[in-house]
Amino acid sequence: MILISFLTALLMLFIYKKTSNQAAIKQVKSQIKASLLELRLYQNDFRTLLSSQKELLTANWRYLLLNFKPLLIMIIPIFLILAQLNLWFNYKSIQPGETFLLKVKFIDEVDMEGINLDLKAPKGLTVETPVLRIIDEKEADWRLRLEDQVSEALIITVNGQRFQKEIPSIKNSLGRVSTIRVRKNLWQELLYPGEKPLPAESVIKRIEVVYPEQRLNCLGIGFHWLVAYFLLSIIFGLALKRPFKVEI
């Protein structure tokens, strides 16, 4: 997490430097400082005070506008990085003996009561319950138990059509856990990049294994990985802005 945050900070500083108007930012920040100084110096002069406040607000507004473009550009790589990090940090993998849910969401056109469903679990997995169909939510769920390391995928057969879902391997430290496989759709694929998408014409919208969320631990305090990631990236960004001569 520290390394990724460091690299993110470097990347963001680079993008910010290249996409922002550094000279204008420097100038507007000087203006803000000057207005603040005026506010302190002319506390007894009401007219000057008002005028300084007006200038301060205008400078602030300009500062925000100057930041808008680089931030807009930065969102794209940040989004892609977050989607990847989510795979690595958001979920714990299941250990042998533990159970988890398998949820399959279908498209609206599917007749849930007439559907022919079958689940084939690979070696190392036991299907503990018969299928549970939630008709109005177009969902079918099972409970599975992990007995051992699984090397093959789960096979879900819907009206004779086969679909696969990989089962994340047992990990004791850092590892990639893909919990959701989605139907071909750019937005969904960007959000859940862990597995090759299901065919676009598939009756299944998504297949999900419900794994427990993971929290990062620092001195006995648990953090969501997003908190740690943003905090560390900001700290690194602020620390590196001078050596890299970036005006933020």
Partner: protein
Amino acid sequence: MGRIKNDEALKRREFLQLILGSSVGLFLSPAQAFMRTTGQKETELKVLALGFDGMDPNLVNRYLKEGKLPYFQKLAASGSFLPLQSSLPPQSPVAWANFINGTDPGGHAIFDFVHRDPKNYLPIFSASESLPSEHNLKLGKLIVPISGGEIRNLRQGRAFWQILEDYDIPSTIFKIPSNYPPVETKQKTLSGMGTPDLKGYYGLFNYYTNEYKTVTEEYGGGGRVHDVYVIGNRVEARIPGPNNPFKEGHPETYVNFKVFLDPVNPVAKIQYQDQEFILREKEWSDWKKIRFEFIPTQSVSGICLFYLKELRPKFKLYVSPINIDPAEPALPISTPESYARELARKFGPFFTKGLPADTAALENDILDEKEFLYQDDLIYQESMAMLEEELKNFHSGLLFYYFSNTDQRQHMFFRLIDRNHPAYDENLAKEFGQVIENTYREMDKALQLAMEKVDRRTLIIVMSDHGFCPFRRGFNLNTWLLRNGYHYLRPGLRPEEVTLFQTTDWARTRAYGVGLNALYLNLKGREAQGIVSPEEKGALLKELASKLEQVTDPLTGERVILKAYLSQEVFRGPYVSEAPDIILGFNRNYRISWNSPLGNFPREIIESNPQKWSGDHMAAPGLIPGILLANEPARLQDPALEDITAGILSAFAVKIPPEITGRPAFGKPD
């Protein structure tokens, strides 16, 4: 241990709420986290005490003879096996307090499960009390406590592990009863019997059903039935939580949940907060966390078990009492506070409610025998796993470890080994007649585990607080007092409609019964409307004791009360003045009735007990001693609970403080 059953569920709920109600919100945790824990001394001798609540010497003897308890046999052969004199009365909170303090009840002030407030004659719990925050800031409907509330352990005097602490001798005290909230100490302690659930009750289950017969808003005896409807293969309901101390009127908090049923398969998914899990019909969940929010920044966490009893034709879902989450305890359950969290880290969620078995669910036919035993077996398995862990960490000093299964299962299954019990059932006896024997054998396995793990320098003590006997017939003390001219009711309600002495004419009443073994005089200067003068007291007590000892059961011809003890004659210590005036020592097969303890006046003086709660221990202590086994010969022929306390101190060569009245049952002679 004993239990009070009241037909009027609402009143019972109100009563419990009055006592414990908002305690969850009152607890502001002290800064215990950084305290040094437990004594440091490396002791030459170690003491392991296993407490099997309610283990009966007669049954132990029988199973020993039949060769069913090999490790009990081994231990007895290596040292001693004696009946252990119980407390007066032989109720668990009293008996374990005798052991904790090394005194009779006069030294610790726990005389019964229930005491009474002499100012208003109302029953109060004897073990602990919750005091609300004294200073609150009111902002509209929001209440902001300025000062912390307090939960107080009402057992007086010092616990023996506090004395050991003075000598730097480490102790771990696991779930000993009569220690909620745990008394201040640096030793490791986890509270046991007396610890409430998250709602502040001693166990309130929830039951969701669309079955017509059980559709009632409140259900007596520790549970609530919720009327639900299955619409579109879906059930929506709510789980009630603790009362909200931050809102005016302290409304009950709740968590909404949904159950999705498969249209054909016997399987359902339960969903609330961030939890979703599938259960098959007749399947139990593992522990599930549940969080109740008071205000956006304040919430408490609990844990509960779900049991999907039936899906069709009727929907039946049982939710266990919500236990305090040991990973984030909302109430003080351990010392240091981190001990509960440490256990939760190692074992995950575990039973924290004082008496974890849901006897009320079995009593009310919510769980059947098999289902009750499944849950109680979870408790046993959990106890065994934790015992193993504690034994692994047991390097010095003392380890006390408690099992509740013996007590709870005997309460509920005595009817199936007693052919003369009104609730005896031939078919059930065939299936469950071995439950008590099997339970004793399970305790033998616990002893085996202990004997295999400890080293040769360990003194092993196996003890129980009392024995057991059948509870076939119940005695209505207040009805007897009424019929014999010691108690008077004002006209209005019929006696059997009265509860909590609501129509008692205190200006004429001389005596009343509150609690399970207790009789009080309406004493001038002590009770709010007392009429019995101190001069009359002695003669009246003797008269009452003599008459009570003569009460015979017309059905059997047996005496109901073997001995009526005058507390001034039998107790010693600074708290004798707080004791009931007479303690009833019932004959075998008898006990106080279900309705008398809370100030009710049922029609019959003596009535049959048709309930599943069929074994009990409110007899004269001599009839139901506990057990004492050890791997060294006992120094006394007739040891009592408080003698074990003195024996433990003596074994560690600790000077026995003068307030301890017990004689050392172990250790080197002086």
